[in-house]
Symmetry: C2
Subunit: 153 residues, 2 copies
DNA sequence: GTCTATTTGACAACATATTGTCATTTATGG
DNA sequence: CCATAAATGACAATATGTTGTCAAATAGAC
């Protein structure tokens, strides 16, 4: 026989499971949005980060919550495809800055445009207040899960 | 210049991004919960599905929202480690049924027990009503995103 | 300035998951 | 029954991401 889960624990577990399932569908939707531009969610994320501001691979990793190795792999592919280039970084000899090329910019714009249509349609289905409250709860959970270290064995 | 995102679209996009970020942290937490038992989130999921009811690899894939190939890979590892076994399926010659061994059952119990402690602590941090409303919104989004096919290029 | 710790990119090994293909088995329509 | 369609497991290729390690570059302590 197993836990010991309180009603509050049940509520949080149900919330967590639904969030994980939704994330899977959002990931699929993101890939579909990026696909016509010949991209994927991962490439889109890196492109968007570099577009927000020129940054090193390691910085993008921190911004995206990924390891720098993972970002490096994607960034090298983006460079090979001519969507970004590695610009000299006056502040660091090794850590070159990712910068979008014109091709990268127009590719990102194409994805953003499709994403806008998608988000607008879905946003209309919700009461704005509910969406904002849910977002708040998700962010609260985000901070709590970050802080809450899992109990050691 | 890019979209065209409405306030409703902005609200949904913010919600989606926060959900994706939380899912990343939940995944990390899940791995940490499973690790002392020598498992991972992926193996835990498959164990839990097979524990809920003996089922084929393809059935588990549908239940977990994964491809049957992905489940197959994990299930073969679980079998090799003696946590599940493939039982004959009277209804289907090829599609054997995954069944937990005693080792599999106790491993799953260990993970569930740790998960209960974790969920109980986190659940206490929330107003139960907020958590339930957020879960509802997430589930609504789940269904909407499933239905909403991404616009073709 | 010098020594040390940290950061960074490069490289490799591995875990996870998807897509695609194939042959076998099961289900279905006639 | 039989022919065709669908489901299933097996196998391979690829995409994504983590962990671990190394050397070079930078930052910080003194």
């Amino acid at each position: 026989m197993s836990p010991d889960r309180t009603p509050a624990g049940d509520a949080f577990a149900a919330f967590a499971i639904s969030v994980l399932r939704l994330a899977g569908h959002l990931q699929t939707a993101g890939d579909a949005l990026a696909k016509p531009a010949g991209q994927t969610s991962a490439r889109w994320q890196v492109l968007a980060a570099a577009d927000h501001a020129p940054m090193s691979v390691a910085e993008a990793g921190r911004a995206l919550g990924m390891t720098r190795q993972g970002v490096q792999r994607v960034a090298d592919l983006l460079e090979k495809d001519g969507l970004i280039l590695y610009a000299e970084n006056p502040a660091h000899q090794r850590a070159k800055l990712m910068v979008l090329t014109d091709a990268g910019k127009s590719t990102l714009e194409a994805i953003k445009s499709r994403q806008a249509v998608w988000a607008n349609v879905l946003g209309e289905l919700f009461d704005k207040k509910h969406l904002q409250q849910a977002t708040e709860t998700v962010i609260t959970a985000l901070q709590a899960v970050e802080k809450q270290s899992v109990p050691d064995d």
